[in-house]
């Protein structure tokens, strides 16, 4: 009993975790940011940070995928903040050009344009719950919200997406 309460050192190595969950992290970031190139940079940054913090990882508190997604979210939020500051600076000089990247290969144009109408927060919850197929509690933990809130947010996002697809069609 006492042994089970002790902190268990991770059985999985960092290399194994990186290899196994790279697609998850990248996919999550691609959906979250809406930019595959940015997602690549952020994914690399996420794994660099994860390497530094790997000693803090505790399997009892969550799977490596959850932990990596939490880190990825922090990295993405930092990116959003710096991006917002950059855009504000640039807007003083001139209206910045926007490059529309494809979210993912294999999406229909209607679905692609419908996804563009969603906010980053809505895309994020869809990425976690639908694309990565995390359960509600795990996704809520990544998002730092309650399970109920997560479920509500997902339902609203899917409904909005459904309506947007119908409009686009």
């Amino acid at each position: 009993m006492a042994g089970s309460q002790r902190r268990i050192s991770p059985v999985i190595t960092f290399s194994q975790a990186a290899e196994r969950h790279l697609d998850d992290v990248y996919g999550y970031l691609a959906w979250f940011t809406g930019d595959r190139f940015v997602a690549e940079d952020l994914a690399a940054e996420t794994f660099e940070r994860a390497l530094r913090l790997w000693h803090r990882f505790d399997e009892r508190r969550g799977s490596p995928r959850t932990w990596l997604c939490q880190l990825a979210r922090t990295v993405a939020l930092d990116h959003f903040r710096s991006e917002r500051r950059r855009v504000r600076r640039e807007e003083r000089a001139a209206v910045p050009e926007r490059y529309e990247e494809r979210l993912a290969e294999g999406l229909s144009p209607q679905l692609e344009s419908a996804l563009r109408t969603l906010t980053a927060g809505e895309r994020e919850v869809i990425a976690l719950r639908v694309v990565l197929e995390l359960d509600a509690s795990t996704a809520a933990r990544v998002l730092g919200i309650s399970t109920t809130n997560c479920t509500t947010r997902l339902a609203r996002a899917l409904k909005k997406l459904e309506e947007a697809v119908d409009v686009a069609a």
Partner: protein, 319 residues
């Protein structure tokens, strides 16, 4: 399009990391070994150090000696020696009573309480005390010794020439362990001088009376004055004589026989219990003092969290 269909389409279009990114992450994983988990962290050190510090403080407080060492004695001032301190010769010399002034008329008295081992020691110490008084030219004014089995007490009042009282006290203190000492010095020189002046004045009046006509009334006054002068002279002589000797009130007591052990939980773990009690008291104080700060910190933390959540929502509310 229904939501399950949408979900299926989204899953099918799940992005896959490009080979360049995969290679980049492999390089990240390979370029450095992850830092080893630190066994000694600040949190762990504090976790151990704080209770240890509290326990040490509690131990120090719990085992703080309540006894006091004997202090040097000042004239007219009682110094109670609570602890039975076995003194060395050096310490005894340091604790010697204040020296009487032999050029002045002073009433010098000292009280000394000594503890001896048992009734046999009490008897021997009493004899020694009297012998010391005799050897220094003094005498015993009162000797009272009572013994019962191994315990007992004795009350000896010695009169020692003032010039030798320090030596007497020094030797008497060697008879046992000092429990308490008391020295009193009362200067009578002023009183004696006043008496002298009064006597002189009365003698001058006597001389004047003797020169007058000696009728019955003058004779009565002369007799009264003469008696008064003689009384004063006797009193003065008594005072001066008594001041030549110091009074040493020696009280001898045996050690209190050890009380039978009472089992009140004062076993070897008693100290530990006391330490834990102090830790508990300390914990109560810490809690009482920390609660407002903790509440404030919780309030600040929840406020900051709500603010961060709002900012995050605002950040993610754009397409």
């Amino acid at each position: 399009m229904s939501q399950p269909d949408l979900a299926g389409m989204l899953r099918e279009a799940r992005p896959v990391a490009p080979p360049e990114l995969r290679e980049r992450v492999r390089l990240v994983a390979a370029q450095a070994t992850p830092p080893r988990r630190q066994l000694v962290t600040w949190r762990r050190v504090l976790l151990v150090a704080v209770p240890v510090a509290i326990a040490v403080a509690a131990g120090v407080l719990a085992t703080r000696p309540t006894e006091r060492r004997a202090q040097p004695i000042e004239p007219g001032l009682r110094k109670s020696v609570g602890a039975a301190v076995a003194q060395t010769d050096h310490a005894r010399a340091a604790n010697a009573p204040v020296a009487p002034n032999v050029t002045r008329v002073q009433r010098y008295s000292t009280s000394l309480e000594l503890r001896v081992r048992d009734a046999a020691d009490l008897s021997a110490a009493s004899k020694h005390a009297v012998a010391i008084a005799h050897s220094l030219g003094g005498y015993e004014q009162r000797v009272s010794v009572e013994t019962e089995r191994a315990s007992g007490s004795g009350e000896i009042v010695l009169r020692i020439p003032k010039a030798h009282v320090q030596e007497a006290v020094r030797r008497l203190t060697a008879l046992g362990t000092i429990v308490s000492e008391y020295v009193s010095v009362q200067d009578l020189t002023t009183q004696v001088n006043a008496t002298d002046r009064l006597i002189s004045r009365l003698q001058r009046r006597l001389a004047v009376l003797r020169a007058q006509v000696q009728d019955a009334q003058a004779q009565r006054r002369l007799a009264a004055l003469t008696a008064r002068v003689e009384q004063l002279q006797r009193g003065r002589a008594t005072t001066v004589r008594s001041a030549r000797y110091a009074t040493v009130d020696l009280r001898l007591v045996t050690r209190t026989p050890p009380a039978p052990p009472v089992h009140r939980g004062h076993g070897p773990l008693h100290g530990l219990g006391v330490a834990f009690r102090w830790i508990g008291i300390g914990a109560v104080y810490v809690v009482a003092l920390a609660v407002p700060f903790v509440l404030l910190a919780a309030l600040v933390w929840s406020g900051a969290r709500a603010l961060r959540r709002r900012r995050e929502d605002a950040l993610l509310s754009r397409p």
